[in-house]
């Protein structure tokens, strides 16, 4: 290979390494805009953002856990528990809407507490601990609902329903809530001293411990905060449908993981980060929306989005590795 060709080759590589995923996002965007008439409508773009809100909330929780060096396969369970606790509080105990929200968050936090106990006290690896929590949580939901029937509560208070369907100055409430959580996570994880410690733990746990950081406390609290965050997603979901659907959270798991890893690939040092996660979530939301608009049937759409997910993850990891 001549010098010049080699140079050119390296140039292409450089472009890929730095902008690879952004190029892919742009090409998907252009593709959908070209093939479906309504993709670029303002209302559709708003749909994408609104439709991504719940995933963003779960992905933020996942970002925290991955930044701590772990992974949480039970985000879906925390999501379900948030919905279940809130709906049951409303339906069976006539709780006020804000009490129900708090109870829902508490229900999700319990899932995080179980994870924290397994990981910190029993030294189980986060993967296996949260996998176990996932199976137990799924099973409990089946037992509780006698096999998976939804618990619906048509007469849920309007304030509760507004969490999903209301708006604030014209901005859908889902987006408002997700944005608030996004900003809180950004400050917490990327700008605060806690975030710095969390990243230190995720990179080198023992070094963080020797530097005087209470690692176990951070890990435990991290898993609990993540689960509580996911529960907020579940509450919004249940407010939207006015019911608790067992095992509904599972469908977010892989998308949340994918969003975090796509986001990490954009970071100069390959770290999971809040803004990257946002980009990852919007990419996945865009793909789901675009495939919908193309009018594919449900099964084909599922298969295609699965394949796009694999490809997206592969490209983001390759990009991170080549850097």
């Amino acid at each position: 290979m001549s010098d010049r060709a080699e140079h050119k080759d390296r140039g292409i590589r450089n472009v890929f390494v730095h902008y690879g995923f952004l190029i892919i996002i742009a090409s998907f965007f252009a593709f959908f805009a070209f093939y479906t008439g309504s993709f670029l409508n303002a209302s559709n773009l708003l749909n994408i953002v609104e439709g991504s809100s719940i995933l963003l909330i779960l992905a933020l929780g996942m970002t925290l856990v991955v930044a701590l060096g772990g992974i949480d396969l039970s985000v879906g369970i925390a999501f379900d528990m948030g919905a279940a606790f809130a709906i049951v509080a409303l339906k069976e105990y006539d709780a006020a809407w804000y009490v129900a929200v708090l109870i829902g968050i508490g229900g999700g936090a319990l899932v995080g507490l179980l994870n924290a106990f397994l990981i910190v006290r029993l030294s189980v690896s986060p993967f296996l601990a949260t996998l176990g929590t996932f199976f137990i949580g799924s099973s409990i939901q089946r037992i509780f609902t006698n096999g998976g029937g939804p618990i619906s509560y048509r007469r849920a208070p309007q304030e509760y329903r507004n969490l999903a369907t209301g708006d604030l100055f014209g901005v859908p409430m889902e987006i408002v809530i997700a944005a608030v959580i996004l900003i809180a996570y950004f400050i917490f994880l990327e700008r605060s001293i806690f975030g710095k410690r969390i990243h230190a733990i995720g990179l080198q746990k023992t070094a963080a411990r020797v530097a005087g950081i209470p690692v176990q406390r951070y890990v435990a609290i991290g898993f609990i905060i993540a689960a509580a965050t996911c529960a907020i997603g579940g509450i919004i979901g249940s407010a939207n449908l006015r019911m608790f659907t067992p095992l509904a959270g599972f469908s977010y798991l892989l998308d949340a993981i994918a969003a975090v890893f796509i986001g990490a690939s954009m970071h100069p040092r390959g770290r999971p980060n809040v803004l990257g996660t946002l980009v990852g979530v919007l990419f996945l939301g865009m793909v789901a929306n675009g495939l919908n608009l193309m009018g594919l049937d449900f099964n084909t759409k599922d298969a295609l989005s699965g394949l796009i997910l694999v490809a997206a993850l592969a490209i983001s990891v390759a990009q991170k590795r080549l850097r």
Partner: protein
């Protein structure tokens, strides 16, 4: 022996890396049946010339021949075929494999019905017994072996094909206790009897003078001396060639004023690795802990720092009874630790220098809970300048710093925390002599400011050079607690390796 024709000859070797002339006309010749020591400070070019022999690097200039055959271009496969074997510092063994499986890894003996396990076991045992002078069952799992035995298994794996002519040992004894070293030396003598040429790279000059027939000293990319006669007294002259200056200047003058006790430890034990340890450190005092690896030294300091919990004994900090639940707790009460494995336990390698320096005092560079980045950079810069961390860039990634500078980053982290007691575990391992001197000076400063310092080290000369008092540990117990000036290198070495432990333990 030096009259024998040299089997390996490298002459006039030069090698440059961007910004560094690693080798400049270096020569290294090794004869069959000799153990040839290769010494020099870090950065003197030892590992570069080894990698040139291995075919990892291409040389810029010079000639290389093995057994009279010239090598214009060296490939890893080519040198392997020529009979050169490398015993890396890392063991590279699978813990749950047997000795036989490990020895034959990658060169298994197979027959019609698959692996011939019995053949492999018998051959591995025979090789270990006949050539390496040691008896290990071929069915033992690696994880049940001592480190010295694992080293021998590693050596056997490299040599089992019986085609080795030249063996390069890279710091073979680094992880060993001195009682274990003899086992490796016996193996080396076994190889010597078979006429195998050996290059022995080590920082431990005592071992170099024990085992080597000849020594080549490298400095600044050149061979500055070849000693043809090596005796026990050669160390001094080797050091003079290595350093190019006298060694007395290495250690600072000691004039400590010892004040009130900072930390008093009484009867401390963890029930497994150390027992009934008494230890007192005063303000401005520098206490050394001497002992072999495995003497309980490491566990003692880890326990004081709260990394592990003791089962017996008490600790008193500034006159108040205390026990540290975790490092976070210890740091909060004014005890800090510079760990022995700085890359693994000391630094967050992918953090910047500034982040590493500020990691333990983030509150000092924060506005409420938010990090103040300019304050953080300023604080890091100031500390980095104070102790001369290079490069001076606070945004440099810690992973890419040299060993000495990495150690300084860990030290810098604790400097401005107002700690009352510094525990330094092997503070100068893997650090070149220039940085060593600077670290000693830094420790001096800490004591001058009134902090108590514990230095735990496997290098007796270092402890004698800098400490006020030395506590000697042997098999988990304190066997001596003496003023440093009442000890000599000989007496301290004798204490750490007491030949009759039963007497001590009784």
């Amino acid at each position: 022996m030096s009259a024998d024709p040299d089997i390996l000859m490298l002459k006039g070797i030069s090698k440059a890396f961007p910004g560094v002339q690693a080798l400049e006309g270096a020569t290294l010749c090794v004869a069959a049946g000799e153990v040839h020591g290769l010494v020099g400070e870090n950065g003197a070019g030892k590992s570069t010339i080894i990698k040139i022999i291995a075919g990892v690097y291409d040389r810029d200039a010079g000639t290389m021949s093995i057994d009279g055959r010239h090598f214009d271009h060296v490939s890893p496969q080519g040198v392997h075929d020529a009979g050169v074997r490398f015993i890396h510092q890392e063991l590279h063994l699978v813990p749950h494999f047997t000795v036989a499986e490990s020895v034959f890894m990658g060169q298994e003996v197979t027959g019609k019905f698959g692996l011939k396990r019995k053949t492999m076991r018998l051959r591995a045992e025979a090789f270990l017994r006949d050539v390496l002078n040691t008896r290990i069952s071929g069915d033992t799992l690696i994880r049940d072996l001592g480190i010295a035995e694992r080293k021998l298994v590693q050596i056997a794996r490299a040599l089992i094909d019986d085609e080795a002519k030249i063996v390069v040992f890279d710091e073979p004894t680094a992880p060993l206790a001195s009682s274990e070293i003899e086992q490796v030396f016996q193996a080396i003598r076994g190889l010597q009897e078979r006429g195998i040429a050996m290059i022995y790279v080590s920082h431990y000059l005592g071992e170099i003078t024990d085992i080597c027939d000849r020594v080549t000293v490298f400095r600044n990319g050149r061979d500055v001396a070849v000693l043809d006669e090596v005796t026990e007294d050669s160390s001094d002259s080797i050091i003079r060639h290595m350093v190019g200056r006298d060694i007395e200047a290495l250690y600072p003058e000691i004039h400590h004023k010892v004040g009130e006790p900072v930390l008093e430890v009484a009867g401390l034990g963890d029930g497994r690795k150390f027992f009934g340890v008494d230890l007192t450190v005063g303000k401005g005092e520098l206490v050394g802990i001497a002992g072999l690896i495995g003497s309980g030294r490491e566990e003692l300091t880890d326990t004081i720092y709260g990394l592990n919990q003791p089962t017996t004994g008490t600790m008193t900090m500034d006159g108040v009874p205390n026990r540290f639940a975790s490092p976070a707790d210890a740091v909060g009460k004014g005890i800090v630790l510079v760990p022995r494995d700085r890359r693994h336990d000391g630094l967050v390698l992918d953090f910047t220098v500034a982040d590493n320096i500020n990691l333990a005092s983030l509150e000092q560079v924060a506005v409420s809970i938010l990090e103040d980045r300019s304050a953080a950079a300023k604080r890091a810069e100031k500390l980095a300048e104070q102790i001369d961390i290079r490069p001076r860039d606070p945004d440099a990634i810690a992973r890419f710093l040299s060993g000495g500078n990495q150690q300084k980053v860990v030290l810098a982290r604790w400097l401005a925390t107002g700690a009352k007691l510094f525990i330094l575990d092997e503070p100068t391992v893997g650090v070149d002599i220039g940085a060593k001197v600077e670290i000693y000076q830094l420790i001096e400063k800490l004591t001058a400011q009134g902090a108590g310092v514990i230095v735990s080290s496997s290098d007796p000369a270092e402890l004698l050079g800098i400490c006020d008092r030395i506590v000697v540990m042997l098999r988990g117990r304190v066997v001596a607690n003496e003023a440093a000036r009442s000890l000599t290198l000989d007496s301290l070495t004798a204490l750490t390796t007491h030949s009759n432990p039963a007497e001590v333990l009784a």
